[in-house]
Subunit: 282 residues, 2 copies
Amino acid sequence: MRTYLDCYPCFIRQALEAARWIGADEAAQKLLLDRVLKLLGKVELSSTPPQIGDRVHRLVRESLGDGDPYRSFKQDATREALDLYPRMEALAAEAADPLEAAVRLSIAGNIIDAGFSHRYDLWGTVERVMSQPFAVEHLAALRGALAGARSALYLADNAGETVFDRPLIQRLGLPVIYAVKGGPVLNDATMEDARAAGLEAGVRLLSTGSDAPGTILERCSQEFREVYGRSELVIAKGQANYETLSEEGPRVFFLLQAKCPIVARDLEVEVGGIVLRQGGRE
Amino acid sequence: MRTYLDCYPCFIRQALEAARWIGADEAAQKLLLDRVLKLLGKVELSSTPPQIGDRVHRLVRESLGDGDPYRSFKQDATREALDLYPRMEALAAEAADPLEAAVRLSIAGNIIDAGFSHRYDLWGTVERVMSQPFAVEHLAALRGALAGARSALYLADNAGETVFDRPLIQRLGLPVIYAVKGGPVLNDATMEDARAAGLEAGVRLLSTGSDAPGTILERCSQEFREVYGRSELVIAKGQANYETLSEEGPRVFFLLQAKCPIVARDLEVEVGGIVLRQGGRE
């Protein structure tokens, strides 16, 4: 998905919020924003939003002198999600359709997104998403793909959201490779964050080798690209993975909440819509 | 009121919306935004937001080659407000406290604000504002000032909002000078817009001599500054007039809806709050 001019205000807001999150003073905030303004003056709209986000958040980390400004945000989110884990696992276990319930839980966890908002109501979102009609629902196709695949590659999104992926991973009925970022960007989950969320048990953890948001394949490691290339089924979490992989065809299933109006328009859903979408379909 | 970094995304959004409003293509939109980004890289935060808005919207008009991009927006708003005029006048006439009702109507009209949003529900806003508790209510002070003054200077805000000022102007019990912008900026009312809103009858129309948002005194004409200087009572509509005149003391009364979180914080009210505030008071 390409970038739109509507994304500019959002990139600036993200940089400002990151600076404030780590308590940078206004002079440091302004220095950072001046650099982001210069950068945005040079971007190509044919890039995907994560390609620009990669450069913006690299500036954020360099300019603020903090390699992981969202560390405490990620730790808080993971802790809160872990507290809810028994309740979410019970929801999935007791559901009439455990796979659908686990898909919904995974999508509910996508509310944890520092690029969108620093505030969220985690259990309130679970309750909403468990009963909300899907805006796009390719569940039958996902069941078919699960029946035919030998393993699944699961592209993680944000720290804490990772915990919400666990009930689904356990119900895929396949060996799972769980891919996380190669380094900190926004509140995206890294190897360390995934381990803190209890993701080691029962899955193979793999780094994408890239610290860009989403999955920018040419930025990923050779090892990741090989794993990706031979995967029969890919589960891609969150907006940034949709933005970078939306053209990748039917083996990719996107699970997300459409939080941004531009992504929502691209998906042809309303803002707030919950989406399980198979790539390559209308 | 000074500018905050939070204003940057808003200026960019305003420029983009202006470009789209007149149907500029994406290349023209991007050219404009690149110029706005450069401008924002040079601003001083000690400026008020309208001082920066003045420069941003000058760029908008120059870059788009349209001296009044909001012309049709203003005409539509004025027409819609005029259609509602009999109903609003009846509300004020039948109210237990006609002055308070007219103040509320004037504040309700402040929802027409292209800098905030291109969409609004005009009569829905009237119904809300007629019953909503004031966030700041210096009505007794306004009554006192009206009893002691020989005339009032009324600083207009947006086209269409002008119509909502008429019931109040008629109930001030004083000769009124109604000041409008010296040229188009955003959807602010100019002389032409005020005449289209029926503001000629019973008031003296005066241009501020400036096409900046709000009232930047050093940018106004000598004539306006003299009128302003000797006014015993000034009624200042909208956020931009508050942003530029907030330090001006007790003869100025601000009437507005706090639509922007930064203005709301400065006023110590919630977003959405309705405000009748005397200058120089805590």
